[in-house]
Symmetry: C2
Subunit: 195 residues, 2 copies
DNA sequence: TACGATACGGACCAGCGGTCCGCTTTTTCC
DNA sequence: GGAAAAAGCGGACCGCTGGTCCGTATCGTA
């Protein structure tokens, strides 16, 4: 691992400014598509070239931002205390993970929608989805479930898709606790049957 | 209902030509985004203006094509024989509907992906999704399920999202019967618990 | 056949993601 | 501290896409 040399001071500052600007813009607009790269650059006070050099393309920027926001949750899962951390027995951990994921998507629904709607490359080919799926699948294998663990993991994750969550919350007026309860019940049905 | 006057002969012919051309183009290309309106117009042997006059915009064209392809299935559900038709008791009809939907999305995955990935307007705000959801929800209410019928209907439909299906089939190499079996088992788990 | 209504089609436009390269800032080294 | 080199900056610029427009060709009708 050849220590990639620390970035310059202004580069770091700009990166943070871009994150903040993009976050705000995505939060405000109804559809992620109406936030253009030029908008983000302007709001962050940088040039468009800077955006593309730092993140490659639009998808790269969204992905980087998403990962950054997701990092705390990722840490809590990898090395945190129960019920998210690795010490939790699977039957409790699976619902906890899904609940945390739902909450995250609720809180960051605009960003998550931007990520999942990048179009060309489906949300499934990302390394980030792979992580969640593998984690969930392995946990499901350790709880005697009636259905195939691999597919079940996909199906459970599909229930927390950003556009579905946003639709239920924004169009249908579903409340946060309501959604959490529904997802919990659904998960329980999938897992145990008897609840 | 003011009988909307029958369309001109050439208009009807062009409409069919556009459908055929679009279908073929979507089937061939990897990502629906790389099929442009100009491509479709050229392949159908019509001008671009004709496309937009007939369908409004890109989304309208995709939607019209999708609905057209879905019509046979829709009829089978509304007035066909069991297990899809209305005479079927809910516990058998729900899995049958989901299976039929999965098969349809498998057969028309490119088109379905184009539809769901139109970006701006989420797939959920369409009248077509509303139909499926309502039908499924009402059926679920008539079978004593442990979880909320409304949410469960959304979750089950999410398991057949076009990009997920395409991902499993194309990237993961899942076979058709394999997927059908997995969805059936998953559905059974959600419905009955005991299977 | 002649005429009005309807539909055609391709030149045209605005706006997007993405590139490029001359210029500025930062770091490095003596 | 200063100069040279490296790293980064930014906005003019490009190709392409969805979408518009209107003169022209075609269809239905009498």
């Amino acid at each position: 691992m050849p220590e990639p040399r620390k970035p310059r001071k202004d580069a770091a500052r700009n990166r943070a400014a871009v994150f903040a600007a993009a976050d705000a813009l995505f939060a405000d607009c109804r559809s992620p598509e109406e936030v253009t790269m030029a908008d983000i650059a302007a709001a962050a006070g940088v040039g468009k070239g800077t955006l593309f050099r730092a993140f490659g393309d639009r998808t790269g920027l969204i992905r980087a931002l998403f990962e950054a926001r997701l990092e705390p949750l990722g840490n809590a899962i990898e090395e945190g205390p129960p019920p998210l951390g690795p010490a939790t027995p699977p039957p409790q951990r699976v619902p906890a993970l899904l609940d945390a994921l739902l909450c995250f998507k609720l809180d960051n629904r605009h960003l998550a929608q931007a990520l999942e709607g990048t179009g060309a490359d489906s949300p499934y080919r990302t390394e980030h989805y792979e992580r969640w799926h593998t984690l969930l699948r392995d946990l499901l294998r350790r709880v005697p479930a009636p259905a195939d663990s691999d597919f079940t993991a996909h199906a459970l994750l599909a229930a927390t898709r950003a556009d579905l969550v946003a639709y239920l919350a924004d169009e249908k007026g579903a409340r946060r606790e309501e959604l959490r309860g529904q997802l919990a019940k659904f998960t329980a049905a999938v897992l145990g049957g008897t609840m």
